[in-house]
């Protein structure tokens, strides 16, 4: 999606905008005291817990920190495979 946007704009984003995006990410991590490494660990463990109960598309799981004003939240976006539930005891 980002590539499409880039093509539409037809040129590289300005260094000012690059600075803003880099800061947005790093401030989210700084504020939450969550390093990118810890986020990866959380993601792996979330995948393993959820997959014990339901089929998920593990390759496309996204765990991010979102910010609004000065509030941070951990957001896990977990695509389900066919939306089906695995049968218990099967």
């Amino acid at each position: 999606m980002r590539i499409l946007e880039r093509l539409k704009r037809g040129r590289k984003p300005s260094s000012g905008k690059v600075a803003k995006e880099r800061l947005r990410l790093v401030l989210a991590h700084d504020r939450a005291h969550i390093s990118p490494g810890l986020l990866d660990t959380l993601k792996d463990e979330i995948i393993s817990v959820i997959s014990r109960h339901i089929d998920i598309d593990a390759d496309n799981v996204q765990v991010t920190i979102s910010q609004s004003a000065r509030e941070s939240r951990l957001v896990a976006d977990i695509p389900l495979l066919h939306g089906q539930r695995r049968r218990k005891g099967a």
Binding site: S14, S15, G16, K17, A19, K20, R22, L23, R24, V26, L27, D30, R31, A69, R70
Partner: protein, 267 residues
Amino acid sequence: MAARVFTVTSGKGGVGKTTLAANLGVALAMNGNRVIVIDADVGLRNLDMMLGLENRIVYDLVDAIEGRCRLRQALVHDKRLSELFLLPAAQTRDKSAVTPDDMVRICDQLQGQYDYILIDSPAGIEQGFRYAVAPADEVLIVTNPEIAAVRDADRVVGLIEAEEKGPARLIVNRVRPDMVRRGEMLDIADVVELLAIDLVGIVPEEADILVSANQGKPLAFSPDGCLAGQAFHNIARRLQGEDVPFLTLREQGVLGRIISFVRSGGD
């Protein structure tokens, strides 16, 4: 009337804290307020030079704290303005000579004699920052539209909130409208959005600021025809509670546009 205590801090060094403290002190005093500026950067004293008062220092902050002089003896009166005083930092000591309680006690002793107490904090987030913020009624965070300065400012915003001294207010210093126009610098709206605190001032980068520092005569003494000088006066008036619109920079036009954008977007 109780003095209002403002601490100017930033996290990162070199963003213009001392210049801002000197100019705000001058601007507030020119408006008829009784003002004392305290240099809290023990060991790296500079506010005295910014104000051109370096040859008049007899005692300093640490002398007053440790009882080698009375507090009144350590104050340096700026003779250019009847209402401006400096409490200089010690140059031959370090930050461990002062505690947060010391600073609170010093400010308590100054209460009743001044309208405004401005504390120029050292850079960093260690002891010096802690004692500089301890007596503050309000904290002013200075930053530049530059990644390291914004990141460090964000750390400080968090620490101020944790100390229950918040919400801090923001001053964006060293703005270069030409670079912002070309998209080569974070614009004010970006910085305000990222840090999510209220903006109280925008100061453009100007060669005159360095010239005034060379001469020990802050730009705020003669703000006419100089945007940075006017910006300092506007910040002072906002701190006094006036509702002052952000400068429209006719000469350049660009900062004005940025400012209009901030005002339309951010209230």
